[in-house]
């Protein structure tokens, strides 16, 4: 595994001298992020938190193309892009990081190259790998910075994948480690968005509490999709991610459903399944802080 990761992974970093924890903003950074800092709920401390945060993005297709650009532009300090797919011609209408020259190349590499040009404050690591439990474990335990961010509560994961087995696998891994999961999906004219956080909102359950592991929903390849619908969901996912990093979540109880034909949103109230195999080890009530031993629970659940 290690050799493969070393072969098909890399770092895009235009500003490697300045990637230690950021405790103060430079003059340039203050100017660059001024419109964000201006928001009382963000401020300088909030911007520092964004610059110190680590975000894993699984899937750099439609959703991933949009969210990586938005998060980098906002000053997220560390992005980890995971995708084993190659760019195809049929991807171009919605996967806006790519162009005709990208066809046949790895999405993770192309995305890292394009996003690196957006903001030198973002360190990009890319992995041309399929998300699996073993890969995720290797990633978490082989990267000291990532592990530190995890222990400090500065790590979140965005599910931008395109199939149910990967979505379930991501959910199980995040639930096992109490890593906040921001899940978005889109197909035809429908989109779904939710935040799963076993520390802050365990009573709302996880992705598997909503959708059974053996369900087989169709995706964009079967149902079709319009690029702007993907952009709407990706923007909501990016906004939700930033809010979560800044601890601005007003509530995490809803499943948000978007109807692209009616241009409407609905909120449904989620509840934890007491028999869920993925989040059964979670506490029943929100926790202000989990101990290191609680966070390092490692379980592999087959749903």
């Amino acid at each position: 595994m290690k050799d493969k990761i070393m072969t098909d992974s890399g770092v895009r970093d235009n500003n490697s001298a300045n990637k230690s924890a950021i405790n103060t903003l430079s003059d340039n950074q203050f100017i660059q992020y001024y419109r964000q800092i201006l928001l009382p709920l963000v401020g300088e401390q909030g911007q520092q938190n964004l610059l110190n945060s680590h975000v894993i993005v699984v899937g750099v297709g439609g959703l991933g193309s949009h969210v990586t650009q938005q998060l980098s532009a906002a000053g997220i300090g560390h992005l980890y892009l995971i995708d084993d797919d190659l760019v195809e011609l049929s991807n171009l209408p919605r996967q806006i990081l790519f162009d005709a020259n990208s066809i046949g190349k790895h999405k993770a590499i192309c995305a890292a190259e394009k996003v690196a040009a957006i903001n030198s404050d973002t360190q990009l690591r890319y992995f041309c790998e399929k998300f699996t439990h073993s890969f995720a474990e290797h990633l978490l335990h082989s990267n000291v910075e990532l592990q530190q961010a995890y222990q400090n509560g500065q790590l979140i994961l965005l599910d931008c994948s395109d199939n149910m087995p990967t979505r379930q696998s991501i959910n199980v891994w995040c639930a096992a480690h109490f890593i906040p999961l921001i899940s978005a999906s889109v197909a035809a004219f429908s989109g779904q968005l939710l935040v799963v956080d076993g520390q802050v909102a365990p009573q709302r359950g996880c992705y598997n509490c909503l959708f059974a592991g053996n369900s087989s929903p169709q995706g964009c390849a079967n149902l079709g999709v319009l690029g702007p619908s993907v952009g709407v969901m990706a923007s909501m996912q990016a906004l939700t991610s930033i809010k979560h990093i800044l601890k601005l979540d007003t509530e995490l109880k809803h499943l948000h459903i978007f109807d692209g034909l009616q241009l409407s949103w609905r909120q449904l109230i989620r509840h934890r399944d007491p028999h869920c195999q993925a989040c059964g080890h979670w506490p029943s009530e929100p926790q202000s802080q989990l101990s290191k031993s609680q966070k390092t629970i490692q379980t592999e659940v087959t749903l």
Partner: protein
């Protein structure tokens, strides 16, 4: 008998029906499989393990929908 509304359409069911029974009656006409759906009862998503203990009442709103997996 009571009337419940499944995806906005009225459905007559026995007074003591639970959500599992209503869903089983409804999925065929919607061309869905029980494995592939999530169920909402009066705005609350009901976990699968509670379908059989969730009792339905007159004018309850039930919604059936599927996961969207595309990205």
């Amino acid at each position: 008998m009571i009337t419940v509304y499944v995806n906005e359409r009225p459905l007559e069911v026995n007074k003591s029906s639970n959500l599992q029974q209503v869903l089983a009656l409804s999925v065929q006409s919607l061309e869905l499989k029980l494995d592939n759906i999530a169920a909402v009862h009066n705005q609350h998503v009901v976990p699968r393990s509670k379908w059989s203990t969730n009792l339905c009442h007159e004018n309850d709103r039930i919604e059936i929908f599927s996961a969207v997996a595309g990205g």
